[in-house]
């Protein structure tokens, strides 16, 4: 299994990776990284990850713009947001574009696992 973590914060990518490493559900997964939506598009094209975990607010291309671009391209891997912002409008927008979940920061490995349960 390949999981792509997209976040402009290197610290947050490290935290998400560490949380994933504790979850039996994704044990042994290869973790890929991208710093924004634009870089993620390239990684998705090259690596075909089984899951994308993306921040929402990023430079160059936001998480929702990434999801929109994937939808336009036709092939969307299971996609979830991990973001510090969590409004009803964002949940609705994410759902409308096919996101499987939106996990709010701060999160725990348990809350991330719960979200992944519905996506994998």
């Amino acid at each position: 299994m390949k999981i792509l973590v997209v976040d402009d914060s290197k610290a947050m990518r490290a935290i998400v990776k560490r949380a994933l490493s504790t979850l039996d559900r994704v044990a042994g997964a290869t973790i890929l990284e991208a710093v924004d939506g634009r870089e993620a598009l390239g990684v998705i094209q090259a690596e075909s990850p089984d899951l994308v975990l993306s921040d929402w607010n990023m430079p160059e291309m936001t998480g929702i713009e990434l999801l929109q671009a994937l939808n336009e391209g036709g092939a969307v891997p299971p996609f979830g947001f991990v973001t510090s912002e969590s409004t009803p409008e964002m949940h609705e927008l994410a759902k409308t574009h096919g996101a499987k979940f939106l996990v709010s920061k701060p999160f725990t490995p348990e809350s991330l696992d719960q979200a992944l349960a519905g996506a994998l």
Partner: protein, 151 residues
């Protein structure tokens, strides 16, 4: 729009506990750093139905400790880039949770980070709405919410 109720202390405590495994305690004195202490400041701005900003400030040594926790490194291994990234992410999470508490349509900026001694943070057209001090293992952490004065 009406001024929303924002519990900065609860928001900060939740973030530090869940993401860092650290406890923030209330600080009952004036939340001011000594002028000779190097202080890191992370800022995010909120625009839209609510206009303002959220800052988080902590001493450079504490900022390095936090970065070390985030990156699972020793503090002496942490570089300035990691410290800046960590403080920016703290500001992003704090501001993002403040934004989520506020009703209406708002946008959150990307974080900015600065560091130095004896400086004052101001955003033109805004005033301090709330400033709280908390401590983590005895080190001061200051969180400030600014609002546009005509908001």
């Amino acid at each position: 729009m009406d001024a929303p109720v924002v519990e900065l202390d609860r928001i900060a405590s939740d973030i530090w506990t869940a993401m860092l495994g650290l406890t923030l305690e209330p600080y009952h004195d004036a939340p001011v750093f000594p002028p000779d202490q190097r202080v890191a400041t992370g800022v995010v701005q909120i625009t839209g139905d609510f206009e303002g900003a959220v800052t988080i400030q902590l001493g450079d040594t504490k900022a390095r400790d936090i970065a070390a926790v985030m990156f699972a490194m020793e503090p002496e291994e942490v570089g300035d880039e990691e410290v800046s990234d960590a403080v920016g992410e703290l500001a992003n999470m704090t501001g993002g949770n403040v934004k989520s508490t506020i009703c209406g349509s708002c946008q959150l900026s990307l974080p900015s980070v600065t560091s130095g001694r004896d400086y004052h943070v101001s955003l033109p057209g805004t005033a301090v709405r709330e400033r709280i001090g908390m401590t983590c293992d005895g080190d001061l952490v200051v969180i400030t919410m600014l609002t546009r004065q005509d908001a």
